[in-house]
């Protein structure tokens, strides 16, 4: 059985005047340790699917199973990282990082030490007592990653976590995140609209089409790109051809444009 199974998920948003189908007929499986990207134009329901998998949202139809159990029963097994860091400005970095442990009442000397050592591993020393606004955007996003990892989730959701950063910071963070997730053997799903990022980071790329949101095509990344770090992968010769291939598919999704 697969690590994560999404089966026949449909989701419709209702308002007084409209019923918009955001997702239709989504089925996919993910194995443990894989890195998956959801790529597609905005409005194709990528974030909706992420919310459904992390059980923030109940789908109108369909099931999501994590290790054969419905995700709604799993607590703290799925970590979620947002586009912006959303660190609580009135809490110190330490308090922010330990928040998840505190909320689930797992805060002991041991878990605390582990979480804080994670902060060191990711290259942030001596910031524990500082407030988020004293840190740069890239540092804050790294703290957000540590906050997400601190509770030891089995599956990680990354909802465009690099899109609010400048290009250089983004490249560095991609490498860092990719390396950290490899070290801990985490399974991850990345939502992005950046083709390069999807190719460089993932094992498989799901291309989404919109109206209604559905899976259009699945690309498996070749072995030679997978073993490379995202930065190196961007410089590999296979990268360009895959980029072209995905680009063409994306173009074909927008009839009458470009």
């Amino acid at each position: 059985m697969s690590f994560l199974t999404v089966q026949d998920v449909h989701h419709t948003y209702f308002t007084k005047d409209t019923a918009v189908t955001a997702l239709s007929n989504i089925s996919l499986t993910i194995e443990e340790g894989e890195f998956i990207s959801f790529l597609g134009p905005s409005g194709c329901g990528k974030t909706t699917l992420l919310s459904i998998i992390s059980s923030l949202l109940k789908p109108t139809q369909g099931t999501v199973l994590l290790e054969n159990k419905p995700v709604s029963t799993s607590k703290n097994e799925i970590g979620y990282m947002l586009q912006q860091d959303y660190l609580f400005p009135w809490k110190t970095i330490e308090e922010n990082v330990l928040l998840g442990l505190k909320l689930s009442k797992q805060l002991t000397e041991e878990t605390k030490t582990t979480a804080l050592s994670l902060l060191h591993q990711i290259g942030l020393q001596g910031v524990e007592k500082q407030l988020p606004k004293q840190l740069s955007g890239g540092m804050r996003q790294r703290v957000a990653l540590v906050r997400t990892l601190a509770t030891g989730p089995k599956l990680l959701m990354l909802d465009e976590p690099f899109s609010a950063l400048d290009y250089q910071t983004k490249l560095k963070l991609e490498d860092l995140v990719s390396r950290t997730l490899d070290e801990f053997g985490k399974t991850a799903i990345l939502v992005t609209h950046d083709i390069g990022e999807a190719i460089a980071m993932s094992d498989r790329v799901y291309l989404f089409a919109s109206n209604p949101g559905r899976i259009h095509k699945i690309f498996s990344m070749p072995e030679e790109l997978r073993i490379l770090s995202p930065f190196e992968a961007r410089n590999h010769e296979a990268y360009t051809s895959i980029f072209q291939m995905i680009w063409k598919e994306l173009e074909s999704l927008e009839p009458g444009k470009g």
């Binding site: 923030l56 703290n76 979620y80 609580f88 998840g100 909320l103």
Partner: protein, 268 residues
């Protein structure tokens, strides 16, 4: 290099000096305005250009103040009013925040209560004064209730609005970390709303004085409000002005204390 550093330090000192000078000028003009108001008040009253019977004069107020301090009546009235105002202020703020929390907790309750809140907020609450006094019998309780009723609903509405405006992504972060609704309230909603709560505190300082003074008008047994209504009835406007000045000083002190609390609570 060292020369450069000295130069920066010198410029910085100049800057600090210029700030000090500016502050001194501000204080100076504030003092001038103060002296101008009171001296012209005194002068106009002595020259009978304004009716001294109605507008009194600073010197008369001063003498009456000393007299009232010596016979102890000012302290008794001041104590009563201050106690009632502080109590009314604290109770209305606490209850206002509790009501706001209940409204946030249950969207259903908030939908049901919405029209009643609007009506109650639009109504002139002081008009309820006579009813409160008869229901709770004249005394501290009814005066405090008068102070509470005037500000509790607006506190609830303003704080509830700020609860609702907290960035939903903070709640999303907490939910993915497995937080309960109570934990969401404690970790995100409440701390994010501190600035709004503080600013309603500032409004409530003024409102609870209104409620309490009106309450004392109606009960007419003790307090600064009683001094005003008594002075009005015996046509002793010096007494009215004395009470007004004391209220102005006390309200300012209370306002400053809230400002102090603000700096304590909101770490910048």
């Amino acid at each position: 290099m060292n020369q450069e550093k000295d130069k920066v330090e010198l410029l910085h000192n100049h800057y600090i000096q210029s700030l000090k000078i500016e502050k001194r000028w501000v204080r100076f003009y504030q003092l001038i305005i103060f002296l101008l108001i009171f001296s012209s008040w005194e002068f106009l009253s002595r020259m009978h250009w304004i009716d001294p019977l109605i507008f009194s004069s600073p010197s008369k107020i001063w003498h009456l103040g000393i007299e009232k301090i010596q016979d102890g009546t000012l302290m008794i009235n001041l104590e009563a009013t201050l106690m009632e105002t502080v109590a009314g202020f604290l109770i209305s703020t606490i209850f206002g925040v509790i009501i706001a929390a209940i409204l946030w907790w249950s969207p259903m309750i908030s939908k049901i209560l919405d029209p009643y809140l609007v009506i109650f907020n639009a109504m002139p609450k002081v008009a309820l004064g006579p009813v409160i006094i008869v229901a709770l019998s004249p005394g501290y309780t009814s005066i405090i209730a008068n102070g509470v009723i005037i500000s509790v609903i607006i506190t609830a509405i303003v704080v509830y609005t700020s609860f609702k405006e907290v960035d939903p992504n903070y709640l999303k972060v907490l939910q993915t970390l497995g937080a309960t609704r109570f934990q969401c309230f404690k970790e995100a909603i409440m701390p994010a709303s501190f600035p709004t709560i503080i600013s309603t505190l500032k409004v409530n300082v003024g409102l609870s004085w209104v409620g309490v003074i009106v309450g004392e008008f109606l009960v007419s047994s003790k307090g600064l409000g009683y001094m005003i209504i008594y002075g009005f009835q015996v046509f002793n406007f010096t007494l009215v002005f004395l009470a007004l000045l004391v209220i102005a000083v006390l309200a300012t002190i209370m306002y400053q204390l809230v400002g102090l609390l603000e700096r304590k609570l909101i770490k910048e």
